[in-house]
């Protein structure tokens, strides 16, 4: 028989406000095995843990039930407290009477009744707990960063600076991400590439950083400390070691009609290309869909002009297999597609553009050489209308429910830059709210209004109608003066919502990292563990976790690096001891369990067993503790009931069911 202590936490008034904690203590005393029950204001505090310690020692407790917040919050705290007092940490169960009870129920009687039942279920479970001992696993001291935007670059640099090797896997031919497409950046208006290019150079030159561009993660196996990842290095058709980056091939390539991804389709590029001049690595790729040699077998000009002999039409995709201890996801974002926002005439007029397209137009290396001009007729616009929140903060499912966070600020930036460079161009911004929380952000916005005379109108635009004279008629509302507004504009810029990059769901599935309905990766705890995924060993960096600007991205990238370093610095990790085990006497070696185990943890051995005096050799399932992750799939599959899961055994779960249905 166990000697169980029940500890009921008030959590200030969080629990005690709705649950009669004294009653729970009183009821606990009647439960089988319970020899001690008490309540305290904050069980997790030093003083609370001291009480637990004292009770374990004085009452010689063999098991604990803590009725408190979610086990996802403080299970570890209480396990550690138990261990300090000499009790096996796995002899602790938590009854979640906060998140699952006091916080969602208002009626005291009802909530107390439920808390008592949850306590009973936990007591029933502890009664069947057995001491468990975690195993150990090694840590591969190498990190993988998926995505080479500013987030991935910063995380990689920080990890490498701490002395650990890092690989970056970037999907496109160059690292740099969205930031490389921006012209100037708020709130200081420094030029984006001037601050990004040195960082790109730094990662490229860092002896501990290895960059795989034009590559994607193909598969991920293993677990924290010991991931095995397959990386597909797509065929570049150019030998990275030979190419000198002279650019002659790009100049001579006759196939020049492909739309430039980098310029958002506003200009063209050759079939062999680097996305932009400062690309890292400065080695082109051949777009095989556009290349004449690949399409017709003729041409081959690039190979002829290349002095270094770097062109290799026969190059194949290469699969690289590497082991990592930690993985950081930094896959960033894209702008939403605007096909559902036809009222803004984005698909009808070349002069309705997105903010990211405007960044390219304003950039000296962009499609217009940095001249602000209408894409339809090349004329300088005199009247520009910006529409904010296109697809953000959207109540229906056309757009996104969230605020994209960066658009208010970049629109103020765009407005200011235009007024600065083209003082005779009028700029009007339609907004729902202007949101400027951030250091020097509101000052920045006010400069746009006060010093640069940008005309801000609170209200939404209902329709943009292209006119026969080439102008755009903007129909909007001014909510403050409550009047309709009709404005003829030469150019309309849509601050479209941002969303996680496509493909992130696939990555999340491979990593078994959780992801929300908007495809942003979920953090382990929204407040306290914002850069960790709930899946151990996976960290989050940049916009893949939620909208953010560059300063915030960089801070988060550093934080993710620190968490990854903290993991890589360990020599060994303790493994979860809640693993499966098969009962030698019950197992009939049928092989069903091995078929469902996702980790290949089950093998079969011929073992000599003594079944009621009969000695014989039988084929028996054996679980490798180091590989088993404790999902329990095998336990349910086993037709002979031989397989059971420690810490979540059949008997324990049945006891919980019984306690709840009592």
């Amino acid at each position: 028989m166990q000697r169980i202590g029940v500890f009921v936490c008030h959590c200030g008034t969080n629990i005690a406000g709705t649950v009669d904690v004294k009653k729970v203590v009183e009821m606990a005393a009647h439960e089988p095995g319970v020899v001690h029950a008490e309540d305290y204001a904050y069980m997790c505090s030093e003083a609370g843990q001291e009480k637990i310690h004292k009770a374990i020692k004085e009452k010689k407790l063999t098991g604990l039930v803590v009725c408190s917040c979610s086990p996802r919050m403080h299970e570890t705290t209480f396990r550690n407290a138990a261990e300090k007092a000499g009790l096996n940490p796995y002899m602790v169960e938590i009854a979640n009477i906060r998140e699952h009870c006091s916080w969602i129920h208002k009626d005291m009687e009802e909530a107390t009744e439920k808390a008592v039942i949850l306590m009973r279920a936990a007591v029933a479970k502890v009664n069947l707990d057995a001491p468990l001992k975690p195993g150990e696993s090694k840590v591969t001291k190498r990190a993988l960063v998926i995505g080479g935007g500013i987030a991935g670059i910063q995380t990689a640099l920080d990890i490498a600076e701490a002395g650990y090797p890092v690989d970056i896997v970037e999907k496109t031919p160059s690292i740099g991400g969205r930031m490389s497409q921006l012209d100037k950046t708020f709130p200081t208006l420094d030029c984006s590439s001037c601050i990004l290019t040195p960082k790109m150079g730094e990662v490229n030159a860092h002896p501990l950083i290895n960059i795989y561009t034009y590559s994607e993660v193909e598969s991920v196996a293993g677990f924290v400390g010991d991931f095995t990842v397959e990386i597909r290095k797509k065929a570049r058709s150019v030998d990275m070691n030979k190419c000198t980056g002279c650019g002659l091939c790009q100049e001579k390539c006759p196939s020049k009609k492909s739309l430039s991804e980098f310029n958002r389709g506003l200009s063209t590029r050759s079939a062999i290309y680097t996305p932009f001049a400062q690309a890292v690595p400065n080695v082109p790729v051949i777009d095989r869909d556009a290349c004449i040699k690949f399409k017709t077998g003729k041409c081959g000009i690039c190979s002829k002009v290349c002095q270094a002999g770097a062109i290799d039409y026969d190059q194949k995709d290469e699969i690289i297999t590497e082991k990592y201890g930690a993985i950081v996801v930094a896959t960033g974002f894209d702008m939403i597609k605007l096909d559902r926002y036809d009222e803004y005439a984005y698909s009808q007029s070349k002069d309705v553009i997105t903010s990211l397209e405007l960044e390219r137009i304003m950039n000296a290396a962009g499609p217009t050489g940095g001249h602000l001009e209408r894409l339809s007729d090349g004329k300088a616009p005199k009247e520009i209308v910006f529409i904010q929140c296109v697809g953000s903060r959207c109540a229906d499912d056309r757009g996104k429910s969230y605020c994209s966070k960066i658009c208010c600020m970049y629109t103020a930036k765009h407005a200011m830059l235009i007024r600065d460079k083209y003082p005779d161009t009028n700029v009007t911004v339609f907004y729902i709210d202007v949101r400027t929380p951030g250091k020097n952000f509101d000052e920045f916005y006010r400069r746009a209004v006060e010093d640069y005379g940008v005309n801000y109108i609170k209200g939404q635009v209902g329709k943009v109608i292209p006119q026969p004279n080439g102008k755009l008629l903007v129909q909007g509302a001014d909510l403050i003066d409550s009047k309709q507004i009709l404005k003829e504009a030469d150019m309309v810029v849509l601050a479209a919502a941002i969303e996680p990059n496509e493909g992130v769901r696939k990555i999340a599935t491979m990593l078994t990292a959780s992801i929300d309905t908007n495809n942003f990766l979920t953090e382990a705890h929204a407040k306290l563990r914002p850069v960790e995924s709930p899946t151990a060993g996976i960290f989050l960096s940049g916009v893949c976790q939620g909208p953010k600007d560059i300063p915030e991205t960089v801070s988060q990238a550093g934080a993710a690096a620190v968490k990854a370093i903290g993991l890589l610095a360990k020599d060994k990790l303790l493994t979860n001891p809640c693993t499966a085990h098969s009962d030698e006497l019950l197992c009939n070696g049928c092989s069903q369990c091995a078929n469902v185990c996702p980790y290949g943890a089950i093998t079969y051995e011929d073992k000599e067993v003594n079944d009621h005096g009969i000695r014989e050799t039988r084929r028996i399932a054996v679980v490798n503790d180091a590989l088993c992750q404790g999902c329990g799939a095998c336990t349910v599959t086993c037709p002979s009931g031989a397989m059971d899961l420690q810490g979540f055994s059949n008997r324990q779960i049945l006891a919980e069911v019984d306690a709840i249905c009592r």
């Binding site: 916080w103 599935t509 992801i515 992750q629 799939a633 349910v636 979540f648 779960i653 709840i660």
Partner: protein, 147 residues
């Protein structure tokens, strides 16, 4: 025969929630104060694939009026494939239960991610309403188990 309608009927509902998604979703419902009926009691399991049909039968035998199993969305299982097994097992089990008189409305599978607190609370609302309308489970209850 008409079944007497008892206004005071409070269903007993057992919810199996996987540790990684649904249990966390229930935690989020809690921290966002999205209420649902106190008749729902949650049992934490590592993965929905840990839910043995035996547990569900036992719950009905012990007088549960409804059993719901929640897991990560298909494809998002923490253990890659656990919820696919669970889905198949439950489909079979539920149709068998229906056959022996435990109506399909008394059993449910729902995928709730860690970010879907609202969905968790909404699902529990619906399920409790459904069970309340179905009334007491008498089909499998083992009267010897009654207190």
């Amino acid at each position: 025969m008409s079944i007497e309608k008892n206004e005071e009927f409070r269903p007993k509902i057992v919810a199996f929630c996987c540790n990684w998604c649904s249990y966390a979703g229930a935690d989020l419902a809690g921290s966002s104060r999205m209420s649902y009926s106190a008749d729902v009691k949650i049992i934490r399991v590592p993965c929905s694939c840990r839910v043995n049909p035996m547990f569900i039968l036992r719950a009905f035998e012990r007088g549960a009026d409804g059993v719901i199993m929640c897991g990560c969305h298909p494809g998002d299982c923490h253990y890659t494939s656990g919820n696919f097994y669970a889905r198949r097992r439950m489909t079979l089990l539920f149709s068998m239960l229906d056959y022996i008189g435990v109506e399909n409305g008394r059993t449910r599978v729902e995928w709730v991610s860690a970010a879907e607190g609202a969905k968790f609370s909404q699902t529990m609302h619906e399920f409790v309403d459904k069970i309340t309308s179905l009334g007491k489970n008498v089909r499998l209850e083992d009267l010897r188990c009654r207190n």
